[in-house]
């Protein structure tokens, strides 16, 4: 079985860990071996959260620089920061809605231009799907569903090899019933947006 290596980067509070768990559940349903590693020490205090998910036969649970097959970024500047994880064959999916770091919010740093971010990533990798996941999450009914919007976009690219139904089933198993409808809608909006991107 081919090994697929996925890196997810996000800012603390964006729901990256739930997204990873949904993908883990999807792997279980699909019968694909999976290992995930996460670094989340300071997440609650505004730091970056990174998950590495390895699908397939490889036994390592972390991913070296240049070796991610897919990079999924929940925040555009963080996607760009993680670009060293990519090679020229990497598929990148990113949210385009910035979550500015505090230094930028108070005028002590400059946030890179999002169009420039997109251009750089596109030039260096195999492909970029860039969607405003925050707008779609709000459309779905909750800004908290950004993570599931992005999962929809990820699945649409086909790079993961999972059927859409499998991941939707995993969402059903992992998301609290009260939030399920919003999240299934979020998944669909992300999937559709990626198809049209």
């Amino acid at each position: 079985m081919e090994t697929t290596r996925l890196i997810i980067v996000a800012v603390g509070g964006q729901g990256n860990l739930l997204a990873s768990k949904v993908l883990g559940e999807a792997a279980l349903i699909a019968g694909v071996p999976v290992r995930m590693s996460e670094i989340h020490g300071m997440a609650q205090r505004g730091g970056v959260v990174e998950s590495a998910i390895v699908f397939g036969e490889a036994e390592s649970s972390i991913i070296s620089d240049g070796e991610a097959d897919i990079l999924l970024g929940f925040e555009p500047a963080e996607t760009l920061r993680a670009i060293k994880r990519c090679g020229k064959n990497t598929q990148v999916i990113t949210n385009t809605a910035p979550v500015p770091p505090f230094t930028v919010s108070v005028g002590m740093g400059t946030y890179p231009d999002v169009e420039e971010i997109k251009k750089l990533i596109k030039a260096k990798t195999a492909g970029l799907v860039a969607i405003d996941a925050m707008a779609l999450a709000k459309e779905a009914g909750s800004p908290m569903s950004v993570n599931i919007v992005l999962l929809g976009a990820l699945v649409q690219t086909g790079t993961l090899g999972f059927d859409r139904k499998v991941v939707e089933e995993a969402v059903k198993r992992r998301v609290k019933p009260a939030f399920l409808d919003v999240n299934l809608k979020a998944f669909d909006l992300g999937f559709t947006a990626a198809a049209n991107a």
């Binding site: 800012v11 990873s20 768990k21 883990g24 559940e25 279980l28 999976v34 290992r35 995930m36 590693s37 996460e38 670094i39 989340h40 020490g41 300071m42 609650q44 205090r45 505004g46 730091g47 970056v48 490889a58 036994e59 390592s60 649970s61 972390i62 991913i63 070296s64 620089d65 240049g66 070796e67 500047a77 963080e78 760009l80 920061r81 670009i83 060293k84 994880r85 990519c86 090679g87 020229k88 990497t90 500015p100 770091p101 505090f102 230094t103 930028v104 919010s105 108070v106 005028g107 740093g109 400059t110 946030y111 890179p112 420039e116 750089l120 260096k124 990798t125």
Partner: protein, 617 residues
């Protein structure tokens, strides 16, 4: 029911490494568990704490790791299966009981877990605690994966019980914080009440007894070495003249590298899982069948030096390498590509690494450093101390917790940290060695952990400094665990005592004790000035609950503030306290995010124009 208490053998479930370890302990019939929380071990104890509330498992958050290990030592000598877990530097605190408990041993299975943190994701050093096993004479097991960690802790309990010796289970962050599927096993029954049988010739370590115990310890280690020779945790994978010896997560990196480099049939890996004592014969036979041996281990050359010594005894002169300038480093953690590259170089295999994209034209991306939360009382206290000590040449020893972040600008309050409790004792030293004013900071949980003894020292030796105790009613950094000053009723638990820090400090003989409410800025600064002027030991207790924790308990209802049109853009708010709720709006004017502002009102009190007001709904 807690998900880890479900008696559903065969169920496959995705677990965090730390959850798998907690589950393994439960499957092994653990009855008694103690800890002091510390990342990356914290979720093990958190899960055991939760399970103890639904079962007859005894669990306690002990005052520090030394206390935790001593409490556990008694339980394990009363016939109960006992588990004591901590982060790697915690074992330094517990090293005193550890070294002699190794002499005394146990009457029931006892596992001591050390969660090491290569690359220091959340620690002050990356010491390699495998040396504690060698140092103390304890058998040690090291898992390579999440699923193996669950099985290994069960084996560790059995091993401990058969040897009547505590067993060290050593993990690293990439085990603790990885997720993988784990299959539940059967939960063994717990024996929750034991009996201590007097045995002074084993348990009272006066010199005459200990001399005999050390002899016995060495005998036990001889037996352990025999077990290590045949342990299923030490195995050889693959075949061929190229040898690799690996432990922990490095084993998987090495196994992947063998496949990726096409070395199947040419290379074999000896995986060390039972790594103290090292299996001498197994290693000697392995090395004898190799042309070259590469040792892959994060941290120190623990295995490498042993392997080289064994080879020397056999007169084997093949190249055996691990740590060197051109191969592996003693620094930080390893990764699959690094192991693949070093392996290719050592075995002279042609290999072209995948190249990462060129980042030379990527613009500088603003950093996202961790920050004290919106409404964090530490920010207020640091600001007030700085104001009160404006004219002074100040040294600020600080300690380990969220408030260590106070060293970052613009608060810049934190000059010296080496370990838990060092803020108080190092203040003693600075106050004698210099003429500078010393103001040190310690959290409440850290004060109980190891600050009290430093304060006793300060009073006894008549030192001259101000200690600020940041009393936020919880162990915040590691995820809101209780400590001896916490009201356990808030956890829905009755029957716990509660230690009052102010009374304790006064009872220690500190002559100048004051209490501040840090959200009252002016009053706090006045009180701090008095304390700073006192010659001798003064203590300021800054009382305000952790905002995050108070919010989670619904004891804090955020009442956001807003910047009114009286603002003339001094920006004192941003430049002096840097609360993350501030941002510059479209017109480049200071604004406050109403979703994150909790309404501590500190900024409102320092604004020279009184421009920051409560938001009217």
């Amino acid at each position: 029911m807690h998900k880890l208490l479900q008696d559903s053998p065969g169920e496959k479930i995705m677990l965090l490494g730390n959850e798998a370890i907690a589950r393994g302990a439960v499957e092994a019939g653990v009855a008694f568990a103690t800890t002091y929380p510390g990342t990356p071990s914290s979720e093990i104890s958190l899960n055991l704490f939760q399970m103890s509330r639904e079962s007859d498992l005894y669990f306690e958050y002990s005052t520090n790791e030394k206390v935790a290990l001593e409490v556990a030592a008694a339980a394990a000598n009363s016939g109960l299966r006992t588990f004591c877990m901590m982060k790697h530097v915690g074992l330094n605190v517990a090293a005193d009981p550890l070294m002699t408990l190794a002499y005394v041993g146990v009457t029931a299975g006892m596992v001591i877990l050390s969660a090491d943190d290569p690359a220091m994701f959340s620690s002050q050093n990356e010491q390699d605690n495998r040396y504690y096993a060698k140092f103390g004479g304890l058998p040690m097991l090291e898992p390579s994966s999440v699923a193996e960690a669950k099985e290994m802790i069960k084996a560790a309990f059995d091993l401990s019980e058969s040897m009547k010796q505590p067993v060290l289970l050593r993990t690293t962050t990439r085990i603790n914080h990885s997720n993988a599927f784990v299959t539940f096993g059967k939960i063994s029954p717990r024996m929750t009440k034991g009996r201590f049988i007097r045995d002074p010739q084993r348990c009272v370590t006066v010199p005459a007894v200990s001399r005999g115990l050390h002899v016995k310890l060495l005998e036990k280690l001889k037996n352990a070495a025999q077990m290590s020779e045949t342990s299923a945790f030490n195995f050889i994978q693959g075949d061929g003249p190229l040898g690799i010896i690996a432990n922990g997560v490095s084993f998987h990196y090495a196994a992947d590298a063998v496949k990726d480099l096409g070395l199947e049939g040419r290379a074999k890996i000896l995986r060390m899982g039972f790594s103290n004592p090292m299996p001498e014969k197994l290693i000697k036979d392995f090395v004898a069948g190799c042309e070259k041996v590469l040792v892959v281990e994060e941290g120190e050359p623990f295995m490498e030096e042993a392997v080289k010594a064994f080879a020397q005894e056999q007169g084997i002169t093949i190249p055996i390498k691990g740590k060197s300038e051109d191969l592996f480093s003693r620094l930080f953690e390893y990764d699959p590509a690094m192991v693949r590259e070093k392996m290719a170089a050592f075995f002279n295999i042609a290999y072209t690494p995948k190249t990462a994209v060129d980042t030379s034209d990527v613009p500088e991306i603003p950093m996202r450093p961790p920050n004290l939360c919106s409404g964090c009382s530490h920010r207020a206290t640091f600001y007030e101390i700085k104001q009160a000590a404006k004219e002074m040449d100040v040294i600020c020893p600080t300690d380990i917790g969220c408030y260590t972040l106070g060293f970052l600008p613009p608060l810049s309050t934190g000059d010296f940290v080496i370990c838990m409790g060092s803020s108080v004792s190092s203040a003693c030293g600075f106050s004698k060695a210099t003429d500078q004013k010393v103001v040190s900071f310690i959290g409440d949980s850290t004060f109980f952990h190891s600050g009290i003894t430093g304060l006793v020292n300060a009073v006894f030796n008549n030192h001259n400094f101000t200690l600020v105790i940041l009393e936020n009613d919880i162990t915040a950094m590691t995820g809101h665990q209780p400590h001896p000053g916490v009201d356990m009723e808030l956890f829905g638990l009755s029957g716990h005592g509660r230690i009052n820090i102010e009374k304790l400090v006064r009872a220690l003989g500190v002559e100048h004790v004051s209490v501040i409410k840090p959200f009252k800025v002016k009053k706090s600064i006045d009180t701090i000035k008095e304390a700073l002027a006192f010659k001798g030991v003064s203590v300021i207790i800054s009382q305000e609950p952790c905002a995050l924790y108070a919010k989670s308990l619904k004891k804090l209802t955020p009442r956001p503030f807003v910047v009114s049109n009286k603002c003339v853009d001094h920006r004192d708010c941003i430049t002096t306290i840097a609360c993350p709720s501030f941002y510059l709006d479209g017109n480049n004017r200071v604004a406050i995010d109403p979703d994150t502002c909790v309404g501590c009102a500190v900024c409102a009190q320092i604004c020279p124009e009184n421009a920051i007001r409560p938001l009217k709904k």
